[in-house]
């Protein structure tokens, strides 16, 4: 039986269909989840997709973080279930304190959509284990509020514990501190990043297929666990 990966739709989620498709194309069973539900429907892993939940009118992710399903997401994350937050999903994970720091408006003050070079800084997470150490990849980046910020102590701690998962290459697109594109929690099961791996699973519609390794990573992890 294939692993079941849930994708949560919040009001204003946009890349939920893309994430569901990426799950399907990489060999798992996609399971749509609704923000207002309090059930995770028995999934093995969870993706919080990109978009503008609640229009991002207050602060990115600040309202979605209080969605009924988030109580279950936090419980599952704490018990070790793989959770991936992409873009708005990353923002929601930060607002929910599953990950430290916050995302602020890009330093260039405009929305930026581009094919972004990244370096995988650690393969010691459930979502990056299938990459080569320090592998350089291209992943679509598209956001208006993607600047990662945290206090110096937190940044030092993330570096020291190997929890900076991705770093921007060839130019920092949004003013993120220390070129950080993605981070993980202490356990390595919760990963958040601004770029969009779900847009990089199909040669026809993405600049690369490097995103497939995110899904391969979590499927390997789930297969090994069972």
């Amino acid at each position: 039986m294939p692993a079941r990966i849930g994708v949560i739709t919040f009001p204003g989620s946009l890349d939920d269909h893309d994430a569901l498709r990426a799950v399907r194309l990489t060999g798992a069973e996609p399971v749509p989840l609704w923000h207002g539900s309090d059930s995770l429907d028995g999934v093995d892993a969870i993706i919080l997709p990109g978009g503008f939940s609640y229009g991002d009118y207050l602060r990115c992710g600040a309202i979605a973080r209080f969605a009924p399903i988030m109580t279950e997401v936090i419980r599952a994350a704490d018990s070790g279930m793989p959770v991936l937050g992409i873009c708005n999903g990353f923002q929601i994970l930060c607002e929910a304190h599953l990950l430290p720091g916050a995302l602020v408006r890009n330093d260039v003050r405009t929305f930026v959509c581009r094919d972004q070079r990244l370096r995988v800084e650690t393969t010691d997470t459930t979502w990056t284990a299938a990459f080569q150490p320090r592998q350089e990849i291209t992943i679509v980046l598209k956001n208006g509020e993607g600047g990662y910020v945290a206090d110096e102590a937190t940044l030092d701690q993330l570096e020291a514990e190997g929890r900076v998962v991705f770093r921007y290459l060839d130019g920092n697109p949004n003013g993120s501190y220390r070129d950080i594109a993605g981070i993980c929690n202490e356990r390595g099961n919760v990963v958040g990043l601004m770029p969009h791996p779900e847009h990089n699973v199909d040669e026809l519609t993405g600049p690369s297929t490097d995103g497939r390794l995110f899904f391969a990573s979590v499927l390997n992890f789930l297969a090994a666990r069972v």
Partner: protein, 753 residues
Amino acid sequence: MADTVQNASETPDQSQPWADLGLKADEYERIRTILGRRPTSAELAMYSVMWSEHCSYKSSKVHLRRFGELPQETPAGKMLAGIGENAGVIDIGQGYAVTFKIESHNHPSYVEPYQGAATGVGGIVRDILAMGARPIGVMDSLRFGPLDAPDTARVLPGVVAGVGGYGNCLGLPNIGGEVGFDRTYLGNPLVNALCVGVLRHEDLHLAKATGTGNKVILYGAATGGDGIGGASILASESFEDSGSAKRPSVQVGDPFMEKLLIECTLELFQAKVISGIQDFGAAGISCATSELAAAGDGGMYVELDRVPLRDSSLAPEEILMSESQERMMAVVEPGDVERFLEICRKWDVQATVIGEVTDDKRLVIDWHGETIVDVDPRTVAHEGPVYERPLARPDWQDEVRGAGVDELPRPKTGDELAETLLRLAGSPNLCDRSWITDQYDRYVRGNSVLAQPEDAGMLRIDEASGLGIALATDCNGRFCYLDPYQGAQLALAEAYRNVAVSGARPVAVSDCLNFGSPEEPAVMWQFSETIRGLVDGCLALGTPVTGGNVSFYNQTGETAILPTPVVGVLGIIDDVAQRTPAGFQRAGDAIFLLGTTADELAGSAWAGVVHDHLGGRPPTVDFDHEQRLAELLINAARRGIIASAHDLSEGGLAQALVEATLRHDHGARIELPSALDPFVALFSESSGRVLVSVQPEARAEFLGLCAVHGIPRTRLGVVTDQPELAVRDQFRLPLARIREAWTAPIRDTLGVA
């Protein structure tokens, strides 16, 4: 106290501000004749806004009718809905249909660039949604004043941020469009937004209110004071004329609400609880109620005080005219109302029953129990004034056409040609647009197979079969100024060709016709010549015009904008995996030029950039050649024998080479045909030409295909892995130097990162 119908009957001589609302004396008289009394102030508000140029097309109607003469059939089959609906619906096979339309939001975008552009996107998306289609992509065609004009630094970043801010938040990929600069657009920027949607044949919905007793439901955002009179005032007169009574406030968009409205509406369609639907565009409730009722077989009764308000102090006239965004109106059978409201609750969308369909063919609107509107809805929606505006070929036209480019000094040496190439590549109309297009999400929904800077945007429709569509918009206003008939045809030919180079078959046309004041005979002549050109062109190509929009009064004082009929062409491709990209793909591929080059430089980028000159006759158009060229490109894509194909337009071969090399950083070694003057070969803007690259092993098959379709081809050279553009006996330019010139203008001039 509200001005009731009874009050109007009793006070026939009460003076009314019809002139301030933009009505002419005879139009006001006609309303009185229709009603047999003076209109109430609410009725006056409705008629004035629905009879405005923007809503009634009163100056353009007699000309637009000619589009109806075109066969309502595309090369892919019969249309499922024609131009009379919100947007035509085109059968693309496999049970799918698409609908697309392009619309202007020019005047609001000058007043308030961000919100004007944002709500332009929002409006066209709701148009497509109202057909029962899921919106799947947007494009935008923009025109601004000179790049270095101070006001452009205000308007351009605001418009771009507005297009992106709204479209990105809706989750619609922006897959193309154009940006152009000319001094006539200073004070008259053009923001034309295109949306395309897809539906299954059986899901087509039309805007009409039928079935006596069916409920009329208003859903979406609450109604506020924004955009009151926006349609009639902003779109109908130039700003200098606005009197104090006019409230030219631009609407404010809420894309999050629109995203909910889209998902909610699609679920309502799926649940089959909608029997008629209408989007709210210009003229708000006035438009939605009168158009829905007029299209049905009965009438409609509305209790206006049930409309949810953001501002409780609004008068009924203001509620009728408000252009608050993100609203829709549905006609629902009584038994389906509960299910309808339940789906709206799921999406946190406010929905209110405000009336019902009646059998008396009247539109009756009550305000707190008193009747303030009692009209035949057809007289509001369909029987507005129609003008045969005087038109006259301007006396300056001959002078302009006579002032050709023969006297202009031309570059001679290789160094001068290289210098010209760099100058054009670094000019506002030809330079890199990535600062603009990188503010748009082109990836969302995961079906964008091609997007800017490709010649056409391409979206996959069916993942299993690979069925897809391609779209391009084009218009060279300089050519239209020299000859509006031929200019319109050149725009059509270019958009058609841009779709064909991607490998898709062009099947349908939508247009957005931007002009100066219709009260000027010269402008009306340009307009009528444009329509004539498009109709003749579409007849020749076998493509119907499936929808469109007219924007007049794009004019400051005596100076009208260049006539700008933006033409959008939609194409179908059986398998998007076979698409042809625009940039060179690999070293060793042979480079060919398809088509014939003549000494056609009037109106060209060279004449404009180097000599600030606009005169002479624009390039000729040959639709028979365009069709054969398209067949060649479609067949070549299917058989996989060309590696890249890129349309030649502004800047000619030189600019096409710049774009094809820079796209994936491949060099090229070129030898210009000896029969042509090198300057003409590089910078002529003859139409019907395409730059292609062909893998060596496919060369014989390619040449055979050219012969079959009767397309002249010229071997130009080869794609290289050297980072330079080398033109034999003329010049060699490092790609880095070309890139530097090409990328600089927008970022440097606007002082942005």
